[in-house]
């Protein structure tokens, strides 16, 4: 039952018990369908508002359930740890949040997530006549977007997108506009992550990979998968370069650009280290002539108890910044409300 260092009971119950915990902790804002494992904004569906749904494997908390609420998602479907939820969940959520204005699915680019959301959209359209559009986030520059891969992973930009698009939906914008905005956010965002330690999937019971005391994985995703490269452990300064350089040169972000800069912890990294990293990232951006319009520092899209971090940049114009600043009231992200 217990054979790893986690605050859990039976590994098979982690997701449902965490959802119960969320329901108990946030009764003012959330409604949780425990059977279908869907976290709903308490007052969904909102008349006339496009419904925003996301979801994915569990283990990335606060994403996605923690981003449900005013100004962000209407519903989040929770899969098993690191396992995409199933079409039945997305279908149920889609029907439940559709007020007639249609529903946007926010899908991270992983084979499983894409296939399951696709099946749900097909079924929902056939079943209830709900208009469903999808955006697939794929911001991870560690992966080549080529015929030789499943394409880039959706990582940090997903968080920024859910906030920004959530604000647009809250304004009552129509589905196509909301979907176009989502695509624009994804197109202007890039990320790269690294790990100091592996994580342990509860059902697996042991670390997904082994790392020596003096090693780190660079170019990781958020599922405990090994990264692109194993490198000797390095100071924060060099790690920041390893993450920022490929991100900046990919879009590319250029001198004079304004960005939302996001330093994210992988779950086991304390805030003090994330601020040390942010200090490095801010200096690198400053040197590159890139202005930080807004920043976010913390554990927002995690990989269980993995130690490590990721850097996400989103090129920001006035509209994106205005939507970023709009009120949001979710367990994981809250301001102005």
């Amino acid at each position: 039952m217990v054979g790893m260092k986690k605050l859990i009971n039976d590994p098979a119950d982690v997701v449902s018990e965490a959802l119960r915990g969320m329901a108990a902790a946030h009764p003012d804002r959330l409604r949780v369908d425990l059977e279908n494992r869907i976290v709903y904004r308490k007052d969904a569906p909102r008349p006339g508002k496009v419904g925003l749904i996301s979801g994915g494997g569990s283990g990335h908390e606060p994403m996605h359930g923690g981003f449900v609420g005013v100004g962000m998602l209407d519903a989040a479907c929770a899969g098993e740890v690191f396992t995409s939820p199933v079409p039945d969940q997305m279908m149920a959520a889609t029907k439940a949040v559709d007020s007639g204005a249609g529903v946007l699915h926010i899908v991270k680019n992983y084979t499983g997530d894409v296939m399951n959301f696709e099946m749900a959209a097909e079924l929902a359209a056939a079943d209830a006549g709900t208009e469903v559009l999808s955006v697939v986030t794929n911001d991870d520059v560690a992966v080549q977007d080529s015929l030789y891969t499943a394409g880039r992973r959706g990582v940090g930009v997903t968080v920024l997108l859910e906030k920004i698009v959530g604000a647009a939906a809250e304004e009552g914008r129509p589905l196509q506009e909301v979907a176009d905005l989502a695509k624009r956010v994804n197109d202007n965002g890039r990320s790269m992550g690294m790990a100091l330690t592996s994580c342990t999937v509860p059902a697996a019971g042991k670390p997904t990979f082994d790392l020596a005391e003096n090693e780190m994985e660079v170019g990781i995703g958020i599922h405990g998968e090994p990264g692109r490269q194993r490198l000797p452990l390095a100071p924060a300064r060099e790690i920041a370069e390893l993450l920022v350089d490929p991100v900046v040169s990919d879009l590319p972000y250029q001198q004079g650009d304004s960005v939302i800069a996001f330093v994210n912890g992988m779950g086991g990294t304390p805030l003090i280290e994330l601020y040390v990293m942010y200090n490095e990232v801010a200096q690198l951006l400053d040197r590159a002539g890139i202005t930080v319009a807004r920043s976010l520092v913390g554990n927002y899209i995690t990989s269980l108890e993995m130690a490590g971090c990721s850097v996400t940049l989103l090129k920001a114009d006035d509209e994106l910044v205005r939507l970023w600043d709009a009120p949001v009231n979710t367990p994981g992200l809250r301001w102005g409300a």
Partner: protein
């Protein structure tokens, strides 16, 4: 081929996957996210629990496919689910080899995998071809399934040196070389259980 055989297949497949859960997860740890064993085991336990002894072979497999789609999640859920669903949709009306081919086509349609992408396809496609060839050659069912199982094993082993080009393992690029694909490994269990059920 009657429903009892497919009933036995599903149960035997579920048992084999349960026995190999840790191995499947270990393989998925090396080039994926360490959930393949738990995913398949959860789904197949649900399949076994939902078996309706009163339906024909086709609906039996189609139901199993729907259950997998509804309980597994990840990449394997839609893929193995579609395989059984498509197979079950035609099974009562066409030869067995044709039904298997329909299942394989469903997998390709969903997942777009090609040969040597280092996925379950690399075990499934040779196994289906082996059954087709055995049927064309007029082999007995046991012989056909023995050939299929051997082909799946061979196809699975052949994934080891490949660079993954689909699914999560593709993120690893060259680092995926030297590891056996977990989904392909599950396919070997699929045909081993099929063979033992006849």
């Amino acid at each position: 081929m009657n429903a009892a055989l497919f009933d036995a297949w599903l149960r035997s497949f579920a048992r084999l996957v349960a026995e190999h859960e840790d191995e499947l997860t270990r393989l998925d740890s090396a080039i994926g996210d360490a959930d393949h064993g738990a995913n398949m085991n959860r789904g197949l336990a649900a399949v076994v629990g939902a078996i309706d002894p009163n339906v024909a072979a086709g609906p039996l497999l189609a139901n199993a496919g729907m259950t997998l789609i509804s309980t597994v999640g990840g990449a394997a859920g839609p893929l193995f689910g579609t395989f059984f669903l498509r197979m079950g949709n035609v099974l009562d009306d066409v030869p067995f080899a044709t039904a298997l081919r329909a299942g394989l086509d469903g997998v390709v349609q969903r997942g777009k995998a090609e040969a040597n992408d280092k996925t379950m396809y690399d075990a499934l496609a040779p196994a289906v071809e082996a059954v087709e060839k055995a049927a064309a050659d007029g082999l007995s069912l046991p012989d056909a399934l023995a050939a299929a199982s051997a082909a799946a094993d061979e196809g699975c082993a052949a994934t080891i040196p490949l660079v993954a080009r689909k699914g999560r393992a593709s993120y690893l690029g060259e680092r995926s070389v030297g590891h056996q694909d977990p989904g392909a490994t599950t396919v070997t269990l699929l045909f081993r259980s099929l063979r033992s059920s006849c």
